[in-house]
Amino acid sequence: MSRFLYELIGLGAGVMFILALKGLSHPRTARRGNLLGAAGATIATITVFFYSSDGQLPLNNLGWILGAIAFGLIIGVPAARRVQMTAMPQLVALFNGVGGGAAALVAIVEYLKLGQSASTTVVIATVFTVIVGSTSFSGSIVTFLKLQELMTTRPVVFAGGRFVIAGTLLATLGCAGWVVTSLGTTPLLVLAGLSLAFGILFVLPVGGADVPIVISLLNAFTGLTVAAGGYVLDSTLLIIAGTLVGASGTILTRLMAEAMGRSLFGTLFGAFTAKPQDSSGTGEDRPVKSGSADDVAILLNYARRVVIVPGFGLAVAQAQHTVRELADLLSAKGIDVAYGIHPVAGRMPGHMNVLLAEANVPYEQLSEMDEVNPTFPQTDVALIIGANDVVNPAAKTTPGCPIYGMPILDVSQAGNVIFLKRSMRPGFAGIENELLFDAKTTLLFGDAKASLTKVVSALKAL
């Protein structure tokens, strides 16, 4: 294959990526867009087997290459197919991390290969790829551990942490200078190590609720890494694809931060500036009103309007189907039922919509926050299932708390508030919810699915 044809096909794949992102931005074309992106990536991958810069075909190490691809398929496909939809955000984080790692490795190999013959701009691009790729890799692993709750979801802040981070960053940049001037192998490996450490330190202070924003940011980082890798390898396709993801990822990160009412700066550096929170441990001892399934059924039965606020707890308990049964039952009794969906209900923007769609909840019943908030004063019962942070009034009333400024669902305006919760344990952001102690709040403790089943049968018996 001639260089021209090879580049032309690469350009075609680049265009397919643009159309893929465009398609993914609209609900009706989203699936087609994703398939188009997959087709572009497949075409680009196949093409590379038919062009070699040294003119020799088949490619050197062909068997090894095909074996490695097969191995990647064996790991990646089942992981993507079998993952529970509730665990999907951390899988995306992990996929992003390995992409960043791959880009860093590619740059390292090309650097080893070029040795002293590398031009300064190529070395600078290599250094950029290694720093950002490694940071994205280790940072994504930390976000994975946080979302999988294999480590604490609270911000990890230690004494002098900000100096350690600043020191690591300075050392990384210094090491980058060392690589550019010495062109040695050791400096590059030290650079990779420092960047890995920086990625970990960078993500540790981020609070659980902000993790999705960080994943999106690291995703944009990986895109830029791929673009820089494309410069090192002289591949137009990689430059186009990487830059596209870098740019769209940056916009997406900003949109996400806006949807959550966070400033990007605050998310990334909030942990440095925030004072240690006074953990209001006194809250644990205060009285709450807990009720039985029958109490909840009665409250619901005599309501005219009920708004259901689903949260991650509903997803974990796999209670989507039971909640739909309850909603159908209430509708049959002539009660007006709506779902109030917070933009970040679940773990990521749009995550809850995916989960409820899985349970065939009618689309018309799903109301976004801006639609449902003005209706709470006319709502008799707000039924909150496994959600906490997205209805926590602290977001409005307590400056300095980790979710301060996040738009919330104003459930406190409703006549009655019912929480279905597993325990008094605070939500993902790790803060106490004052609403739990309010006089009009009733709590029903237990697994969301078990509680809902009990409420449904109590309601049928009425």
């Binding site: 990526f17 992102l21 993914l24 931005s25 609900p27 699936r31 994703n34 398939l35 990536a41 590379v48 087997f49 810069s53 490619l59 050197n60 190490n61 290459i65 691809i69 990647g72 398929l73 790991i75 990646g76 496909v77 993507a80 993952v83 939809m85 999907m88 995306v92 996929f95 390995v98 992409g99 791959a102 590619v106 190999v109 090309e110 080893l112 290969k113 999106s216 990986t222 895109g223 390898l233 591949s235 990689l238 430059i239 186009i240 830059t243 993801v245 870098g246 740019a247 769209s248 997406l252 949109l255 933009p343 990521m348 923007p349 749009g350 995916v354 769609a357 065939n360 689309y363 976004e368």
Partner: protein, 101 residues
């Protein structure tokens, strides 16, 4: 490649990237992020190129590791995005069906 050509491609791609996602509802944030994530898995192409260039076991080992990681990123990313969107499609199709009749 000529420096100016690369700078042009880079700059134009930034604007295209900004433009295509500037108006997207929060419902689609997660699938869009996941789809973009899969697209940067195309670094697989780069990993294959360096594996072709490799002529010692260190270089080959590192590039094969890069191929494995990039394949996971690319294929896994597209598959998981499709799974997310499949659910939207089911919902949309049903609405359309009831709306038409």
């Amino acid at each position: 490649m000529e420096a100016m050509a690369i700078i042009s491609i880079f700059t134009l791609s930034i604007f295209v990237g900004f433009e295509v996602v500037s108006k997207v509802s929060s419902t689609l944030h997660t699938p869009l992020m996941s789809g973009a994530n899969a697209i940067h898995g195309v670094i697989l192409v780069g990993a294959i190129i360096v594996a072709d260039h490799s002529d010692n076991s260190l270089e080959l080992g590192l590039s094969l590791a890069a191929i494995v990681l990039a394949t996971i990123n690319m294929v896994g990313g597209f598959v998981v995005t499709d799974r997310m969107l499949e659910m939207f499609k089911g919902k949309g199709a049903k609405n359309k069906g009831s709306g038409d009749k």
